[in-house]
Subunit: 479 residues, 4 copies
Amino acid sequence: MTFPKAREHCGLCGVSGGESILERVHLGLHSLQHRGQEAAGIMVNVDGRCRVHKSAGLVDAVFRAIPLDWRQCRNLPRAISHVRYSTAGGSKENNAQPLMVEMAGQRVGIAHNGTLCNALSVRRKLQHEGVIFQTTTDTELILHLMARSLTKRHHGDLWEALEEALGEVRGAFSLLLMSHDYLVAVRDPFGFRPLSIGDFDDGGYMVASETIALQVAGARYLREVAPGEMVIWGPNNTMVSHRFAESPRRAHCIFEHVYFARPGSFVFGDSVYEVRKAMGRRLAREAPVDADVIVPVPDSGMYAALGYAEESGIPLDMGLTRNHYVGRTFIDPGITSRRKMVMRKLQPIVEALRGKRVCLIEDSIVRGSTSRARVQTLRDIGTKEVHMRVSCPPHRFGCFFGIDFPRREELLANKVPPDQLCRTLRLDSLVYLSQEGMLSCVKAFKPEDYCCACFDGNYPTPPELVENPTLPFFDAGGP
Amino acid sequence: MTFPKAREHCGLCGVSGGESILERVHLGLHSLQHRGQEAAGIMVNVDGRCRVHKSAGLVDAVFRAIPLDWRQCRNLPRAISHVRYSTAGGSKENNAQPLMVEMAGQRVGIAHNGTLCNALSVRRKLQHEGVIFQTTTDTELILHLMARSLTKRHHGDLWEALEEALGEVRGAFSLLLMSHDYLVAVRDPFGFRPLSIGDFDDGGYMVASETIALQVAGARYLREVAPGEMVIWGPNNTMVSHRFAESPRRAHCIFEHVYFARPGSFVFGDSVYEVRKAMGRRLAREAPVDADVIVPVPDSGMYAALGYAEESGIPLDMGLTRNHYVGRTFIDPGITSRRKMVMRKLQPIVEALRGKRVCLIEDSIVRGSTSRARVQTLRDIGTKEVHMRVSCPPHRFGCFFGIDFPRREELLANKVPPDQLCRTLRLDSLVYLSQEGMLSCVKAFKPEDYCCACFDGNYPTPPELVENPTLPFFDAGGP
Amino acid sequence: MTFPKAREHCGLCGVSGGESILERVHLGLHSLQHRGQEAAGIMVNVDGRCRVHKSAGLVDAVFRAIPLDWRQCRNLPRAISHVRYSTAGGSKENNAQPLMVEMAGQRVGIAHNGTLCNALSVRRKLQHEGVIFQTTTDTELILHLMARSLTKRHHGDLWEALEEALGEVRGAFSLLLMSHDYLVAVRDPFGFRPLSIGDFDDGGYMVASETIALQVAGARYLREVAPGEMVIWGPNNTMVSHRFAESPRRAHCIFEHVYFARPGSFVFGDSVYEVRKAMGRRLAREAPVDADVIVPVPDSGMYAALGYAEESGIPLDMGLTRNHYVGRTFIDPGITSRRKMVMRKLQPIVEALRGKRVCLIEDSIVRGSTSRARVQTLRDIGTKEVHMRVSCPPHRFGCFFGIDFPRREELLANKVPPDQLCRTLRLDSLVYLSQEGMLSCVKAFKPEDYCCACFDGNYPTPPELVENPTLPFFDAGGP
Amino acid sequence: MTFPKAREHCGLCGVSGGESILERVHLGLHSLQHRGQEAAGIMVNVDGRCRVHKSAGLVDAVFRAIPLDWRQCRNLPRAISHVRYSTAGGSKENNAQPLMVEMAGQRVGIAHNGTLCNALSVRRKLQHEGVIFQTTTDTELILHLMARSLTKRHHGDLWEALEEALGEVRGAFSLLLMSHDYLVAVRDPFGFRPLSIGDFDDGGYMVASETIALQVAGARYLREVAPGEMVIWGPNNTMVSHRFAESPRRAHCIFEHVYFARPGSFVFGDSVYEVRKAMGRRLAREAPVDADVIVPVPDSGMYAALGYAEESGIPLDMGLTRNHYVGRTFIDPGITSRRKMVMRKLQPIVEALRGKRVCLIEDSIVRGSTSRARVQTLRDIGTKEVHMRVSCPPHRFGCFFGIDFPRREELLANKVPPDQLCRTLRLDSLVYLSQEGMLSCVKAFKPEDYCCACFDGNYPTPPELVENPTLPFFDAGGP
């Protein structure tokens, strides 16, 4: 009964060449734990054989159970790894990644961040050709397409097959693939999800969803994988770039900056930290408040609050403390009231807030139910006024590119007219950052290079692709 | 470090119609536990959706963890289930069965006992057509062949597709398949492995590898599935027989009678109990012994020993006791000597054997190492003489039809010349039952209707099919 | 819903001196697994510190989890170990043994087989003196009594304290105790439970509940610990005998011979194998039968059946086969009929029994419900007659010396008049072995040296001691 | 290889009367998780029987496994619960609390926060009287003393016995005890550790280590348990106060304010939040810095940093981000360098810090090794200067009252002369808050009412008591 705002499906980390590959992948993937807490997995080439270890659980727990012979193996040439977010009501271990299969006599593994928006039609087409499916992931589709492409060729070049397969899928896909001799990093032509490359002093390379992984593992940031680019590291660890598709437009997910990415990361050419602070400053200019104290909603509202406080001159205080032992998936049948669930996680400090005009800085509001309960706890302890400033516009649309928002009708901004939002949340005032304001805070690309579909409904791909992306739930092998 | 003689890969049990389907499958599969202790699985149609539950472990443990809603579901129309044998050095849970996939929009599950001897060439052919493999089982091949066959048809009749698929595979396959509305039982044209049908008073049917399952579950034995026959139960539970292939010859595995099947079962038209006793009697006539006591090697030598004692007039005594708490897969790094491993499992009773001329009745000798250690323990306690009579001929050849003997060069009869066998095992005398004698004990079919290839090398299928059936070991998802 | 006849509480195995102590204790305790399947534990002196490892589960599983440093330790001087039987409705891991405490600055551990019949009064007396209890075992009482005795002495000799403590308890106790420097084996003055000593070629000693442990571990049998004797191995591994109490009379549990002990063991000076065969022969003389076949109820009726068949000249056949994968504690909510539970475990072989006059040989009948269901399964398959011969007299009384029979009113012989027993069990005839006949089969001691209280109610200790031995159930720390 | 600064042993939460006792205790104990992450436990009176559930793990995990009948029980009258800190190298589940025993026919449970400094002499005295110990906790001693006291009385009043027991122990003890009919809260005469009382609208009471538990569970704060006071809730839930000892002086642990307690709690009459902010302001006055940015070391340095920034006018920025998925006990054999371990947990944000003069605000420095590695990571990213201000004086002495600091010789301030500290940590400047300054920030009591022994060595109890409080490590039942 903890309700995360949205669920993104993955974090990726791969390494080619260099020393201490297991340690580097572990450090890198661990720093991406915020992108997925359900399951983790790693694929390596141990003594010449591709093997996968994956299971439900946090990165540290999964890595602690790595087979002993992997640790003893001295010459691991490459590895890919993956974290996956928890989905409500029962996650399926057999959907964990990397997904490894045998194809044309080779083992090939894949890890995927994003969502294919034409998965259903591809799946149907493959069905008609006699393909059987063992998971419900859209990721499996890419492997089938590759395998079919391979059959048309005389010499089985996996990466030409991959290029052909990618030509048939639409949507968001940052991918890592691995075979006996190769590591490949791929980013869809729109560049929905981030994917960055770094290198180590000893010649090793790392590819990861966010640059924080490079930093923690000790790698230097080199550059992003470009939209429509495929970067290949072969047996001798040379890095080769190949453009597999024209990029019709960029469509970087702005919500990575607003909420998902770690503040210590660079994504889409900007520092998340700087973007969030700029959003706070912009918000202070767009929506000033007459308050005694600026209070961030931890942890994601912190940097916008710092920016807001700086710009407004109103002092910042950490008037809400977070209990970090609240697991995201905790459900106790005995704790059912939302007030208690909210209080379990965030506790207001009475001495900091009582009698004051408080302005909360939130990164975003999705359903609104948690926000309302939180405001109530502030009222209960005797605040004089409670205002809220939100560092992005209202969420009104679903995402078909890798973020699992609740259904449209559950989004607060679709349930309540704009002029009722403030009263619904029992606030004294409520202002969202404008979309223009939000986009003014990113510097690396032009405003039209970002995907803001969850705010404005302007999906970068044709509408027929995004109508019914949900696959029937398939639980082979699970309970 | 317990060394079973041979490893067969499965036991099958399915139910269509009638009451208490979960209970019946549980009772039936549990009685087939001797056919596989590595993993167990069950597939049911719960509230209109096909689901699988499977994991490593014994039947009781796997069934104890069955999802609660399965138990609460009142209208389970059908189920298939499977036990799988432990393989040395690391078994793979993702190779457990039933294997369920999605095919042409339907979920289809399969459970398999046997080995396809043209698996490698089928696999290669499918690879060339762009198929990817997620397990290393030959069972997966049948599903791929079905799916491909389906694509050529206008109306997707699964069972026509199955028939076509079976036309492409060779070898031993007793199969259970299940879809939303159907249960199908299949036996290969040679009839290598047993598969029997029974029914219940309430109209339900059961299909199982051995009749003991019918007996324990309370079903009446009806008949065997015939070689080359496909028996189909549809939505209204009527039983339809269909012959999908001519049977070139029968080739019933004689080793089922010698060792694998439970003595309470009927297989290939004969009572295992009666066959084993007859083997003992025949052995007594072929190879009389001058001994004070006949001692069976528990548990599998029991009935041959009863027959031997009866025929010879020499008293039988249970001079070896077995510790049934010896798990087959137990490995303790601190217990390495074979004498101790053997002693852990079988303890001679000193008072029964000391000073006596003992004749051990063994069902078979494969590697010989365990037998040698066992004879030594008998010598150690002061027996006067130790003779051995074996209720089948020497093992000299591998099996490509479902029994996983050690490699040919590890078989005792290939390592030691015939005249040295007795001395190698430190016996006073050693005689094997002749092949002719062995075959005289089965009554239902003619001698040429049995496969004795592990004894005489006469494989019922062309030699090119059996040359290299071993697939490279594939451990996707396993440790 | 498997109903064992009776539950005994323990098996013991200890080693002092010699090589490979962990391996020896493992082999020894494993061979005593039939005396307790609930939990197992071991106490060793690792690098000069006494440590305990114990948990629920079978011996192999518990030993597999032994801490790594124990295995690496080269100089383990001694060890004691224990297996414990499952008790219905929830066993308590914190009642597992060995129980180790700190006493007068030393760690002392104890393992116990038997029951103290004055536990309640001792417990009350200790309570009045201010003692607190952390388990519900009577075993804990002995440690408290030792500790109190120690306080009265100038120099803390643990074993004098033990002697004094033993002076205050009554009942059945075969004990192993261990401290930093000592191993002690104790047997109560009546000698209710067995306890034997053996030695190894390398100078090591083993003490174990049954001689099968010595045999499997490779030790020579030396002798039993005498009733009222305490055998002490000190730092230099010399064996010292000390008589701590006069033995008022011997009272060896005859049920060890009838049912509990392994046929390969010597207990109370007799071979269990020989005693059981003699019981069968005597039974044949006391109660001849007009039958076609003698069928043992496996596994415990085997040797009496061999004796009966030998004496009567009627052929023996193994007409009932046992599924050894039936765990004793298995409960499946879906399998509730007794017929099915019985059939799960023992399957009649139709071909061996149909149309025949069958005589079953049982070791004992306690509640009778299992026997009745079993007879019914024999009738169902078309036997002509079913007779039963039981190798001990009817059970009519409870045991206060270590065997946990059901309550008196649940015993068949107390529920049904003698002349109705045969009909109640649906038998054609039923005869029990006479008590005199049973006692004629043991040779080492006189008939009056055995405890037959469960048959005749003649308890060897005064009646006031055995009236209310049940302690209130205490579940500190358990669920 | 995460090195927490110090280890305190416990948090306590008890409830008497009112509704939803399990939920309240869960919410309360969960909010005290920061006081102990090793193990958690709860004792309740379920249907008239005292029972304990405890195990290793976090509060949520332990509560998820609570027996089902507890949840279904409608009339739980009272409960006590406990969290326990992880100790390096192997924690012992059997030392978890509450510790429940049987004493004079009653079950009594106890939960303890603190350390008895005369535990060794009490333990020796009890040993001489014949007591045996099953744990190594000093908590067990209190129960033994109670039990012995009870034996001298005619009518067994547990709480008189408790009072007498408390007369024999010295040191820090905040206790909760529970019997069938009573809940008792005790605080030692010095008041070392906090313990507060609250009540609910429905008449229920809660006692907890920190007031945050009351807030989260929805209780009103009433008052602290006074030093030397025993508060008793009986069967009818009336609250009775009893003074069991004179308070020679107050000795409140100042480190609760500096580091341990949650900022949302009131302890010793002051708001932790306010005390920490005041420390930051005082530190700014005592030790100004010429810096561009104030950066707290999360999470414990946050409020001092806010105070410092406020007082100094230097902007605060969250230049270090924390990965909250770093378990405290994580050990990966492949990650051994301290730099990597530090980086795993805290990542500097390059954009916030590069080229700047940074002043870190730490709550305290114990060993110094983590601080040094952290400073190095700041240097690596190109900060211009790195200063550190610490919101307490240097740690130079051990604690015998409930906080488990490393040994004296491991404390940085004892290893390095004062003028070398700055260079050792590679800082540009380093200033600690003065003891006088620190004590000026607490308002409720006079400076001499706090225990600052870890800073100045002035232990509130006579020195002979604190010389050798370490008990030999005792691992009965553990691995």
